[in-house]
């Protein structure tokens, strides 16, 4: 059996080698070399002038992640208390937009948010507006929340269905009002789901380029756009692009590390 199960992993191992490890090696190689193939640190030192882009990416992604948590937590909890059928229906509804193309969905928001878009036209009926909504940071955050909210709800819901109703009742029985139940029972017991939700929203948000380009216009360039320019745009410099990708990777790793560490400490803190 052992030999067999090892054998079963071979296709994936080959896949991983060809499509993950080799490209990663190539990114590292390009990041540390010039176009001529000589070793250099210049690619990295040159990125300093884009620091504000990195900062903005992280800033907007953090906001989007927080909004997703605030929206997803209560919804996930309400869903976890529904009947089986209710839960399945809700999950279906939440995943429904994901059956449509990501591009199409974002285009949809463009037509809604435009200066001559549906929302402004609607507000005009009441004599309000028009508001500038497209090409703002808010529009970018909205795009992130809209596209990645399902990825926050699903892990929160799946961890919350495991919270026994009687544990919540026990807390109430011991004098906990709604707020105490939330702070002392629901949130601590949902931490693994919260961590997954943060990861699932933050990582794609921080590296997105379509959302920022379509909803943020030219003014709201993010890391993703910057990297894309290096490979497909007018600048064309794969070496700098590779080093940017590496830095983004390191940033994500550091942030995830901090969050996971925070989680461990939280747990230990609770165990006195």
């Amino acid at each position: 059996m052992k030999a067999k199960s090892k054998f079963a992993a071979v296709p994936y191992l080959v896949w991983m080698l060809i499509f993950i490890l080799v490209p990663l090696g190539m990114v590292i190689f390009f990041g540390f070399t010039t176009t001529g193939g000589e070793f250099t640190f210049d690619n990295f030192t040159g990125i300093v002038k884009y620091a504000h882009v990195f900062w903005k990416s992280i800033y907007l992604s953090v906001i989007a992640t927080l909004i997703c948590l605030v929206l997803g937590f209560p919804l996930g909890f309400l869903m976890s208390r529904m009947s089986e059928v209710g839960q399945r229906t809700m999950l279906m509804l939440i995943m429904l937009p994901m059956w449509m193309s990501f591009l199409l969905r974002t285009y949809g928001w463009m037509t809604l948010l435009e200066n001559e878009g549906l929302i402004n036209k609607f507000l005009e009926l009441f004599g309000i507006g028009p508001f500038t909504m497209i090409n703002t940071q808010g529009a970018v955050v909205l795009g992130m929340v809209y596209n990645y909210l399902p990825f926050a709800i699903m892990p929160l819901h799946s961890i919350m269905v495991k919270i026994d109703k009687s544990v919540i009742e026990a807390a109430q029985d011991l004098g906990a009002n709604g707020f105490h139940v939330l702070i002392k029972v629901l949130i601590p017991l949902s931490i693994p789901g919260i961590i997954t939700a943060i990861t699932m929203v933050f990582v794609p948000s921080v590296s997105t380029f379509i959302i920022s380009r379509m909803l943020g216009g030219g003014q709201n360039m993010l890391i993703g756009d910057l990297i894309e320019q290096q490979f497909l745009g007018s600048v064309y410099n794969p070496n700098v692009g590779s080093s940017m990708s590496l830095i983004l990777m390191v940033i994500i790793l550091i942030i995830m590390g901090i969050i996971n560490h925070f989680d461990d400490e939280e747990m230990e803190g609770m165990l006195v």
Partner: protein, 465 residues
């Protein structure tokens, strides 16, 4: 301290059109150990949840120390609960689980520590403060749950089958420990269980429930010695329950003989149930007793022998420390005070059902249709059908005339007496098969034996008037 600490008055609860609690009234004295006892689905846990504040009664009032607390949310009630599966907080250790309630009340830290440690000492878990909940055995988790509830000094402790998940040996130990804690703390305990032995052992007062109705409440001894009806007698301890006829006051006839008894007020020639506890029957020389029988089987039960004795067409259960071998002829002896008479659960000994002639020689009742040759009654005539309990057979639901809800099943020495409920009325039937109570079963009528009588016209119009 003779006032009631918890009082329920005429509580009704419905879920999805099912009546869960039907006019439950209960008064619990301060400091008492009260047990709600009954089979699963009898409403005992719902009663507890009403006191805890997790269920709102549809009708009726809950009083605590004379104050109505219907509208007080669970977290404000001065009661604490030990849940069926403990419901400990998995993210907290033993100390923090127990300290949960005190921290919410913002009790000073030093006092929390003192009270938690003292409580852990009471439940014999000293030194376990920092243990994770998952690392504890079932019995230890149980004791954490008790400590977590008791540390808040509740006026009333509610326990929902707290020992259900433990093995027998641990149960017995925990029973003694719980009684000990009850004595030490003086807190009122309201305890829910389906285990009659547990109830009799631990309580000051036992409340027997069935189908959302309190059947009997009283001291364990009284309930055991003077069960109010055949259900209570059957549920509490082992008993011989037979059909009998109350000839007149203090005179009852069963097993082909007439006996003196201490009961009166049932009327004359009324069908009743008679209950005799197996340990109240003495085995004597055959010639010295009114009833004689033959030992059918013997089982050794540790302290006593349990013997099944065939006598007068009935099987008698007898407990005795002296063994009589199988096949021995014995006499059964018992005194008037050992005979307990109770009202039948089902009124009468036959079923009376209304039907209608729906065609030539065809009668319909309860959606069942049957033909009777030479009936000779015109269509539309209302008829009264008399159905003997023996003429209703229990069959699988796909071959059944009717699907009915089995309300009660009691062994009557030879056959099981079943009371079933159609959506129109209750029916009494006899069966040799065992069935699960509180489920739907199928029944089939032996229509050829049904007695059909036309209802006289004036009676019909009288009904309508």
């Amino acid at each position: 301290m003779e006032h009631a600490s918890i009082e329920l008055k005429n509580i009704f609860v419905d879920f999805d059109n099912d009546r869960i609690l039907d006019n439950v009234s209960l008064s619990v004295k301060d400091g008492d150990f009260v047990t709600l006892l009954g089979p699963s689905g009898c409403g005992k846990t719902t009663t507890l949840r009403i006191i805890a504040g997790f269920v709102q009664p549809d009708k009726g009032d809950v009083y605590f120390d004379g104050k109505r607390i219907n509208d007080l949310p669970a977290y404000k009630r001065p009661v604490n609960t030990v849940f069926q599966r403990y419901a400990l907080f998995p993210h907290l250790n033993v100390f923090d689980n127990v300290a949960f309630g005190l921290k919410i009340q913002k009790v000073p830290k030093a006092e929390i520590k003192e009270r938690v440690l003292r409580m852990l000492e009471i439940v014999d878990l000293k030194g376990y403060e920092r243990r994770r909940i998952q690392k504890l055995s079932g019995g230890q988790q149980q004791r954490v749950a008790i400590a977590r509830a008791l540390v808040n000094n509740p006026k009333v402790l509610l326990l929902d089958e707290p020992l259900g998940a433990l093995d027998l040996k641990l149960r017995k130990d925990m029973q003694i420990e719980l009684m000990d804690i009850h004595k030490k703390t003086g807190v009122t305990f309201i305890y829910v269980t389906h285990d009659q032995e547990e109830a009799l052992t631990m309580s000051d007062m036992v409340v027997v429930m069935k189908d959302g109705v309190i059947q009997q409440q009283g001291r364990p001894e009284d309930i055991y010695n003077e069960p109010k009806n055949a259900f209570v007698a059957d549920f509490i301890g082992e008993s011989n329950i037979f059909d009998a006829t109350m000839l007149e006051d203090y005179k009852v006839s069963f097993c082909g003989q007439t006996f003196e008894c201490l009961d009166a007020g049932f009327g004359t020639n009324k069908p009743v149930d008679v209950v005799i506890r197996p340990e109240d029957i003495d085995l004597v020389e055959p010639e010295k007793a009114v009833l004689t029988g033959v030992v059918d089987s013997v089982v050794f039960k540790g302290v006593h022998y349990e013997m099944n004795i065939q006598c007068g067409g009935l099987f008698w259960l007898v407990h005795s420390t002296k063994c009589q071998p199988v096949g021995t002829k014995v006499g059964l002896d018992f005194g008037p005070d050992d005979i307990h008479i109770m009202k039948r659960l089902f009124d009468g000994d036959r079923n009376f059902v209304k039907g209608e002639v729906t065609g030539e020689d065809t009668i319909t009742f309860m959606d069942v249709e049957f033909t009777r040759e030479g009936l000779g009654l015109p269509e539309g005539t209302p008829v009264r059908l008399t159905i003997s309990p023996k003429d209703i057979e229990v069959v699988s639901t796909d071959h059944a005339d009717l699907t009915v809800y089995l309300e009660s099943l009691i062994y009557k020495g030879d056959y099981n007496e079943l009371i079933v409920y159609t959506h129109e009325q209750s029916l009494l039937l006899h069966s040799y098969l065992d069935q699960q109570v509180a489920t739907d079963i199928g029944i089939k009528f032996h229509t050829e034996n049904i007695l059909v009588e036309a209802i006289p016209q004036e009676e019909v119009s009288g009904d309508e008037g």
